[in-house]
């Protein structure tokens, strides 16, 4: 897993870590049971304060993406999402609405949008280009 931060994005660094770890698990480049780097290692690698990395890991744990085994570090949880399916679907409603709105403004609608989602999904599966 290779994380990259962009301070210019305006997105808080801890949130960038959360999103990138989630993307890596979704893409399969980070699999269930695999370890995340220790907080200090990642903090030094990304030139971040450990508080920021700790905050990201706490958030990932809270979201059920990773688990913290005291003394051994943080690991990606195996598939079993703790939330029920309808709750999981509800989580996606808001980003999808935002996507539809944005797609409308750039005149991409209907099947074309679905195709685009499939294409992006496929590329994500192939890993970072």
């Amino acid at each position: 897993m290779r994380l990259q931060l962009n301070f210019k994005s305006g997105k808080p660094p801890y949130r960038q870590i959360v999103d990138q770890v989630k993307a890596a698990t979704a893409a399969g480049s980070l699999r269930a049971g695999e370890a995340l780097p220790p907080i200090r290692t990642l903090a030094e690698q990304l030139r971040l304060n450990r508080n920021t990395v700790a905050k990201a890991y706490a958030e990932l744990e809270h979201q059920g993406i990773i688990e913290n085994a005291p003394g051994r570090g943080c690991f990606v949880r195996d598939g079993g999402q703790p939330l029920r399916k309808d709750a999981r679907r509800a989580l996606l409603a808001e980003p999808i609405d935002a996507l539809i709105v944005q797609a409308h403004h750039v005149q991409i609608q209907g099947e074309e949008l679905i195709d685009l989602i499939r294409e992006r999904q496929r590329r994500l599966g192939e890993g970072p280009s």
């Binding site: 931060l5 301070f7 210019k8 994005s9 305006g10 030094e44 990304l46 030139r47 304060n49 508080n51």
Partner: protein
């Protein structure tokens, strides 16, 4: 939670010159706090007042809830300080120097000492007199981290060092310091070289002419301070944006820096139908430059 550092209306004059003029500041435990300002802004004077190396004229200072003048020893056993100019007893080796420091301290983490010496490739048997400038700072920082104090005060730790050295070692030393008990490891670092500290600083105060200009969490600051660039098909139109810190027009391009309200400003520029538009967050250094050397926004 009780702040580790609390400064209220601090004033310190040199003759009739006010070096610090009504400064307020709070540092919560476990934070890595940046104290940014130009040379002569009042950073070192403030730090010396914290350490009771200088008497304040008026105002209040509390460290760990105590008065650094009255409770000087109780305060100082819980902190370490690295000045901008470090000095050693010249006849000592690095080993002697650390043993000497450890003699004053309740704790000394030998593992941490060894780990950092290894990482910096320093031989403890070398004389402190034969160290390069960067190595002297490394030795001073190791000496400040190993007692595992609750507060680490660094005054311009990276100035005078070459960029490679300072990028590398400041993060390793802060990482090593926080390791173990991060909730009780607070860093207060003054600097005018902000780039090296971009990802390390949780929260900061910018000081100019002895006064606070801005205090913010780094994440909030990068959300608020935004540069918007737009390119038009015709020469860029005049922009009237009252909240802009700076507005620049150059041919078909315009660049606006705002502090907050960027959605409104983006909408305003969008209404002028640029062919391309982008926004990006300012770095902490750019925020520092934008707030301290505040150029008058073209009306």
């Amino acid at each position: 939670m009780e702040p580790v550092i609390e400064i209220r209306d601090l004033v310190r004059r040199y003759g009739r010159q006010e070096a610090v003029n009504g400064l307020n500041l709070d540092v919560a435990p476990g934070r890595c706090y940046g104290f940014f300002g130009r040379n002569g802004a009042g950073k070192t004077t403030t730090i010396k007042c914290l350490l009771n190396l200088l008497r304040r004229d008026t105002g209040g200072i509390r460290l760990f809830g105590m008065d650094p003048v009255r409770d000087e020893v109780a305060v100082k056993r819980r902190l370490t300080y690295v000045p901008d100019q470090v000095a050693f007893h010249p006849w000592m080796t690095i080993r002697d120097w650390f043993d000497y420091l450890a003699a004053f301290r309740e704790r000394w983490n030998t593992e941490k000492e060894q780990e950092l010496l290894r990482r910096y490739e320093l031989d403890a048997q070398r004389s402190v007199n034969r160290l390069s400038r960067g190595e002297r700072m490394q030795v001073a920082l190791i000496g400040a981290v190993c007692p595992e104090p609750e507060l680490l005060i660094l005054d311009e730790p990276t100035s005078g060092l070459d960029p490679l050295v300072r990028r590398e070692f400041i993060r390793t030393v802060i990482g090593a310091y926080q390791e173990g008990d991060p909730a009780n490891r607070t860093v207060f670092v003054s600097t005018h070289l902000i780039t090296e500290f971009e990802g390390l600083i949780d929260e900061f105060t910018i000081i100019d002419r002895g006064q606070e200009v801005l205090s913010l969490e780094s994440d909030t600051a990068r959300e608020r301070f935004v540069r918007i660039r737009a390119r038009f098909t015709e020469p860029a139109p005049a922009l009237e944006i009252p909240e802009a810190l700076t507005i620049r027009r150059d041919g078909r391009e315009a660049e606006v820096v705002v502090n907050g309200a960027h959605d409104r400003v983006v909408a305003q520029i969008e209404a002028l139908q640029p062919e391309e538009m982008a926004r990006e967050a300012l770095s902490l250094e750019e925020i520092f430059l934008a707030t301290v050397a505040k150029p008058r926004a073209a009306a």
